[in-house]
């Protein structure tokens, strides 16, 4: 089968510091991240003619344009499903570049998610709010399921029981990612590794699934990524990272973390991840063995097990043993989340995991994996395959 590869590439990446209290506006964080990504590749704000961010982001295109000095933007879009749509920023930017709608697209996400509105605090909504990711909350809120952790745990519990996955099994993911963060100077948990005993001693957030150390951080900060044609990227400062392909899949019955009602959750929590994997592999012709690194969305540790199975790095039900055998460590079969992920580095809604994929492919990562030619990046309903020529 012939596969149509994208002609788009990631030319630049940028970020602010990752903190718990940035002390400045979310718009300023967005602008700083964008400036940093443009500096990274040698472009100017005036070169940018496309913008992509999350539906949940508070910085509008017009505010970004007037603050950074962009000249005229020909494409602006927003991605759904919260962090589950992180890779959709790359997907939509790629589509815009491939279609010739825009030449230089910047994907950005910036927020004060620790010092401002904390996602981990109870969501008490008083209206149905499409686009804000809370249209489902009316069915959970009156029963005390008011946080993303509670929804994710309810999705995972049946899977864990079916396959005999214990909370200690989940802890191995956390320990590994904190090991990576400990040697990544940009990570909030730089210099702070944990042991499995630390994990097991951390308090329950949602019993019997998630302890504190199974949950991603809450962070302040911003990340921006510059996407343009591979041809143009070749003339810029950094080695281009090719977007080999990207795919989105929202199957029937999936909701934002709460696809409780009609899907078989016995074997596979998060069916959207299986559908997205299938679609990405079909679209690119790539297979699991083609990747030397996977950056997997890690809001909560059970999602790592699900993605390892969905992307066929191991069979359904085998992720816990696959992890225990060291396969996801650097030097293992498929290293993951070498920046520390959202658990260890920072929670910039998945965007910092995409930047890490780019750094690894350029050979600039703090925890560099040797001979990286292709990286899988996944987040909920979307995934992308990145590579170098």
């Amino acid at each position: 089968m012939a596969h149509k590869h994208s002609g788009a590439a990631i030319a630049g990446i940028g970020q602010t510091e990752f903190s718990k209290e940035s002390g400045r506006s979310e718009l300023q964080l967005a602008c700083e991240a964008i400036k940093s990504a443009l500096d990274d590749c040698g472009l100017k704000p005036a070169d940018v003619d496309g913008l992509v961010t999350f539906t949940l982001d508070t910085s509008d295109d017009v505010d970004v344009i007037r603050s950074t000095g962009m000249k005229e933007v020909h494409f602006s879009s927003r991605t759904p499903h919260g962090g589950g749509g992180a890779c959709a920023t790359i997907f939509q930017a790629m589509a815009a570049v491939d279609a010739g709608i825009a030449d230089v697209v910047v994907a950005y996400r910036a927020f004060n998610e620790r010092s401002g509105r904390r996602f981990g605090q109870p969501h008490l909504v008083d209206s149905q709010n499409a686009g804000g990711g809370t249209s489902f909350a009316q069915w959970c809120m009156p029963f005390g399921a008011m946080t993303p952790a509670s929804w994710a745990a309810l999705m995972a519990q049946r899977y864990m029981e079916t396959h005999g996955v214990t909370n200690e099994d989940l802890g191995r993911v956390s320990v590994l990612q904190r090991k990576h963060a400990a040697t990544n100077p940009a990570a909030w948990f730089y210099g702070k590794p944990i042991t499995l005993a630390d994990h097991q001693a951390s308090r329950w957030i949602i019993e019997p699934v998630l302890r504190l150390l199974d949950c991603c951080q809450e962070s302040d900060g911003g990340v921006a990524i510059v996407i343009t044609s591979a041809e143009r990227a070749r003339d810029l400062k950094q080695k281009p990272v090719r977007i080999l392909g990207a795919a989105q899949a929202i199957p029937y019955g999936v909701e934002i973390v709460t696809g409780f009602y009609e899907l078989d959750l016995t074997h596979a929590a998060h069916p959207e991840m299986f559908a997205t994997a299938r679609r990405l592999y079909e679209r690119t012709g790539l297979k699991p063995a083609d990747f030397q690194l996977a950056m997997l969305y890690d809001a909560f540790t059970p999602q790592i097990l699900t993605q390892l199975e969905a992307y066929q790095f191991c069979a359904i039900g085998e992720a816990k043993d696959f992890i225990k055998a060291g396969n996801i460590e650097i030097g293992g079969k498929i290293p993951i989340n070498t920046n520390g992920g959202l658990i260890g580095e920072a929670y910039i809604h998945g965007m910092n995991n995409i930047s890490e994929a780019v750094r690894q492919l350029r050979g600039q990562a703090a925890n560099q994996v040797s001979n990286v030619e292709r990286v899988l990046v996944s987040s909920g309903i979307c995934a992308t395959a990145l590579g170098i020529d």
């Binding site: 981990g120 605090q121 109870p122 008490l124 909504v125 008083d126 209206s127 149905q128 489902f136 909350a137 009316q138 069915w139 959970c140 809120m141 009156p142 029963f143 005390g144 399921a145 008011m146 946080t147 952790a149 509670s150 745990a153 309810l154 999705m155 519990q157 049946r158 029981e161 308090r203 329950w204 957030i205 949602i206 019993e207 019997p208 699934v209 504190l212 029937y252 709460t258 409780f260 009602y261 009609e262 959750l265």
Partner: protein
């Protein structure tokens, strides 16, 4: 209903209602567990929705369910502490005998004894603003 001589003040939040879902919550306030039934093909749907995903009919009615089901999955939220809910509140996904699932609570079961497959029956717990929502307890023999 749970018997108590001194009922605790009602703190459970009221559900959000939309034109498509109001029948469900109004039913619960009357002590009835309802589901949407398609007027075209007869399928039951939860959560309610304006069009049948199988036959695309917008005709629909509300039917009363048995209130019997089993626990499909369950958790106990511990942090952040929610003062408006009792300690050890069990959040569960209930698979009803009619084949649809609903997020709710299971009461009257110690956390140590919670298990998937537990047979449960519906009762109704009051919310602020004078409403009620369906919750579950172990099925009486």
């Amino acid at each position: 209903m749970a018997s108590s001589t001194e009922p605790a003040p009602v703190t459970r939040p009221a559900p959000v209602m939309t034109p498509d879902t109001v029948f469900f919550w109004e039913g619960a306030a009357r002590g009835e567990l309802l589901a949407q039934k398609c007027g075209g093909c007869g399928a039951l749907h939860h959560p309610p929705r304006p069009m049948c995903p199988h036959c695309q009919s917008t005709e629909r009615s509300a039917v009363k369910l048995s209130g019997h089901g089993v626990v499909y999955s369950w958790v106990v939220p511990r942090h952040p502490v929610l003062p408006i809910f009792a300690p050890d509140t069990v959040v569960a996904l209930i698979e009803l005998d009619e084949g649809i699932r609903i997020v709710s609570n299971v009461t009257g079961v110690p956390v140590d004894s919670m298990r998937n497959g537990l047979a449960v029956e519906v009762y109704f717990a009051p919310t602020v603003k004078g409403g009620a929502v369906p919750v579950f307890r172990p099925r009486s023999a």
